[in-house]
């Protein structure tokens, strides 16, 4: 896997080309995987006398996918910047409570509630981004800590469900356009914007650049801190949207029921399943959506086939590892290598006997640069 990153960041001069090319390289595979899941799933269902593509099941898949989709789109942005966000579940809970208590059953207060929910989420994102980028605290700890802070606040201030979502806003959670739930439609629209932003706008290119190699990005004039902060704000706002969707579906705002649901790790799994490198710099929203859909199809299938919920966990675990192992196989590129100053499971080059690292002085130079850069 990491060798993929390696390829992405090859040489400083190539960074720009990589930006444009990268979203395309791993996406076809994920769509093949999605197709494969659908075919295998449909076959298994058919054996049991069911139809995976029945209207009910399609609605079910899309409904299940929309919530995780929102969170995973945001998570994609942070992971592209070689950060990560473990606070998404807590932010969603916070946003649901703030929005629901602000609306309080009054349809005229819906815009205010939405604004409040998303605004609070954006503030958390700002906090995550600033602490990560400016204070140089690892995002793992920043977002885990931010999550704990929010958890304590929610448990103390809202000991249970609070607020009331007016019927008009519950439509966000329950309306369907034909077979497509409104929430899924909105999620897909945001995903399209996400794809366009990453591929066509300067901000998107910066995200790839920062994730690919942040000191090179910096040397080429990108304000890396700002990009990381922006990605965190985006991620939190998307988690806030997920919180709004949950509030609409629940008719009220809740805390523990949302933050205990494991959206943090689920969303990271979906992003990585979608072909985005955990080390940043490569991947994209389109792949993430495919990853989310795969998980949605699996869930629906497991339910229809009456698979034991515990066995579901086992299967999910194996599928996630296997999928990423397959990507990693494909992306091994022994001719390229780069060293990187620590982040997550960074710098695994040379960790196998199979791809001897290329002894470039270049990587060490950049390494030194990396330290220098971070020291300011």
């Amino acid at each position: 896997m990491s060798d993929g990153v390696v390829a992405a960041g090859g040489q400083p001069a190539r960074t720009n080309r990589v930006e444009r090319r990268s979203p395309l390289t791993s996406i076809p595979l994920i769509y093949i995987a999605l197709l494969g899941t659908l075919i295998v799933g449909a076959a298994l269902m058919a054996v049991n006398g069911e139809n995976l593509f029945s209207g009910g099941n399609i609605v079910d898949i899309l409904t299940r996918s929309s919530l995780l989709g929102f969170i995973a789109i945001g998570q994609t942005m942070v992971i592209l910047c070689r950060s990560l966000d473990l606070s998404v579940g807590y932010v969603a809970a916070l946003s649901s409570l703030v929005a629901a208590t602000t609306m309080d059953g009054d349809p005229s207060r819906i815009p205010l509630g939405v604004a409040a929910g998303l605004g609070v989420a954006a503030l958390v994102g700002l906090f995550n981004g600033v602490v990560t980028a400016k204070l140089k605290v690892h995002a793992f700890i920043t977002t885990l800590g931010a999550g704990l802070i929010i958890k304590g606040y929610l448990d103390t201030v809202y000991p249970g469900p609070a607020g009331e979502v007016p019927g008009a806003f519950q439509a966000f959670g329950y309306t369907r356009i034909g077979l497509v739930p409104l929430s899924a439609a909105i999620m897909l629209i945001i995903a399209v914007f996400g794809v366009i932003m990453l591929q066509r706008t300067r901000t998107g290119h910066r995200m790839f650049a920062v994730g690919g190699n942040d000191e090179v990005a910096r040397l080429s004039g990108i304000r890396t801190d700002r990009t990381i902060i922006l990605a965190h704000v985006f991620s939190s706002v998307m988690a806030g949207v997920a919180g709004l969707l949950l509030a609409a579906r629940f008719g009220t705002g809740v805390g523990a029921q949302i933050y205990d649901a494991g959206y943090d790790l689920d969303s990271i799994a979906a992003v990585v399943l979608g072909g985005t490198l955990l080390l940043g710099g490569r991947g994209g929203v389109a792949g993430t959506i495919a990853g989310v859909l795969i998980l949605g199809v699996l869930d629906t299938m497991f339910n229809q086939l009456q698979i034991d919920p515990f066995f579901r966990d086992v299967l999910r675990g194996i599928i996630i590892i296997a999928a990423v192992a397959v990507y990693a196989r494909r992306q091994i590129d022994p001719t390229k290598s780069r060293a990187r100053f620590g982040e997550k499971s960074a710098s695994r080059k040379g960790s196998t006997g199979t791809s001897p690292p290329e002894p470039t002085g270049d990587s060490r130079a950049r390494r030194a640069g990396s330290r220098e850069e971070q020291s300011e």
């Binding site: 990491s2 140089k136 086992v314 675990g317």
Partner: protein, 347 residues
């Protein structure tokens, strides 16, 4: 890998290492918490209370030592929490209250911990799956498989000879009772510190710092990392034995301990991404985490607020720690980087 490394050998070096390296903040926090504790509840420092505290902190300290190996090599192990839970449930189910099965089952558990670590390590190094994902998958697999096996709720019972390790201790004057858990923790601390001082430790840190360079230097990087995962699996098993022994078996054992262990290690000045940090710092981080929890119970306020305070302190300690680190990096960056990283004294 502290900048104080050249001097780290002498007694002065030890002092500098405690308060000078990336480990500094954790000892500051630890001392602060001890002072606050002294003001709030002096009876905490009575031998019996201290021993009870150590008994409680020992499993997390051991878990943190295991997590340290993985983190310093540049990886993550998210599977330790569910491994602890799985081990306790396995023990209860297989021992089923029968004293004679205690030792065979403990051997089996150690074997299982080793196997889980080995799988984590090989999938990460040979299949090149990022360890975050490998161990996240392992976490799901273990949690699901163990519940599948027991039908959702643990069955069986632990034997007294199994439980004594987490529950009993050696009776001595003054201290009343030294818990076995504390003794086991100290033995593990000594062994792991020695391991980190030896060739393996140096290679491990070098690998985490720069695996390309480490492999030039002749290290079998994949073996080094796999062994780190195996150590983590083994130590998680030991922690599981102590936790199961302390409180018996419930369905929730081990829940969320992976995040606690990682937080403790990072609090101890070990840098996520590898190559930096001292194992003693990691263990001190775990001790600090538990002390903080204990302190929060003493404070007269809603216990629901505890996570908030934990979050604030963790972020502050890390922000402070990385601020110190920048200063050093600036100095370091001014020097030419040696081709072969010499993780001298970096444990």
């Amino acid at each position: 890998m502290s900048s104080a490394s050249p001097a780290a050998t002498g007694p002065l070096g030890a002092v500098r290492r405690i308060f000078g390296g990336g480990t500094g903040p954790v000892f500051v926090v630890l001392l602060t918490l001890l002072v606050v504790m002294l003001l709030l509840n002096p009876s905490f420092f009575q031998p019996a209370s201290l021993m009870a505290f150590l008994r409680n902190a020992a499993p997390l300290i051991i878990l943190a030592a295991g997590q340290y190996f993985v983190i310093v090599s540049g990886e993550f192990d998210l599977s330790v929490g569910s491994l602890v839970g799985a081990q306790v449930v396995i023990a209860a189910k297989l021992i089923d209250g029968d004293e004679s099965r205690t030792w065979p089952v403990i051997m089996l558990m150690l074997g299982f911990g080793l196997l889980v670590g080995l799988v984590n390590g090989l999938v990460t190094t040979l299949l090149k799956v990022p360890s975050f994902i490998t161990t996240l998958g392992m976490m799901l697999v273990l949690a699901g498989a163990i519940r599948l096996w027991t039908g959702g709720a643990p069955t069986g019972a632990l034997s007294e000879s199994f439980r004594q390790w987490g529950r009993m201790g050696i009776e001595v004057p003054v201290l009343r009772q030294i818990p076995y858990a504390a003794l086991i923790m100290i033995v593990i601390a000594v062994l792991t510190v020695l391991l980190m001082r030896g060739p393996y430790g140096r290679t491990l840190v070098a690998t985490g710092d720069n695996d390309v360079a480490a492999s030039f230097a002749g290290a079998q990087v994949w073996q080094v990392r796999t062994l780190a995962f195996v150590l983590s699996g083994l130590l998680a098993t030991v922690a599981g034995i102590l936790i199961g022994g302390f409180a018996g078996v419930t369905a929730q054992v081990g829940d969320g301990m992976e995040f606690t262990a990682i937080t403790a290690v990072v609090l101890g000045g070990v840098v996520l991404g590898g190559g930096r940090g001292w194992i003693v710092g990691a263990m001190a981080g775990a001790l600090t985490y538990r002390l903080l929890e204990r302190l929060l119970v003493q404070l007269d306020m809603p216990s629901t607020l505890n996570p908030t305070i934990q979050g604030v302190i963790i972020i502050l300690a890390l922000a402070y720690g990385s601020r110190r680190l920048w200063g050093r990096r600036r100095r370091r960056a001014a020097q030419p980087i040696t081709t072969k990283p010499q993780p001298s004294g970096a444990e």
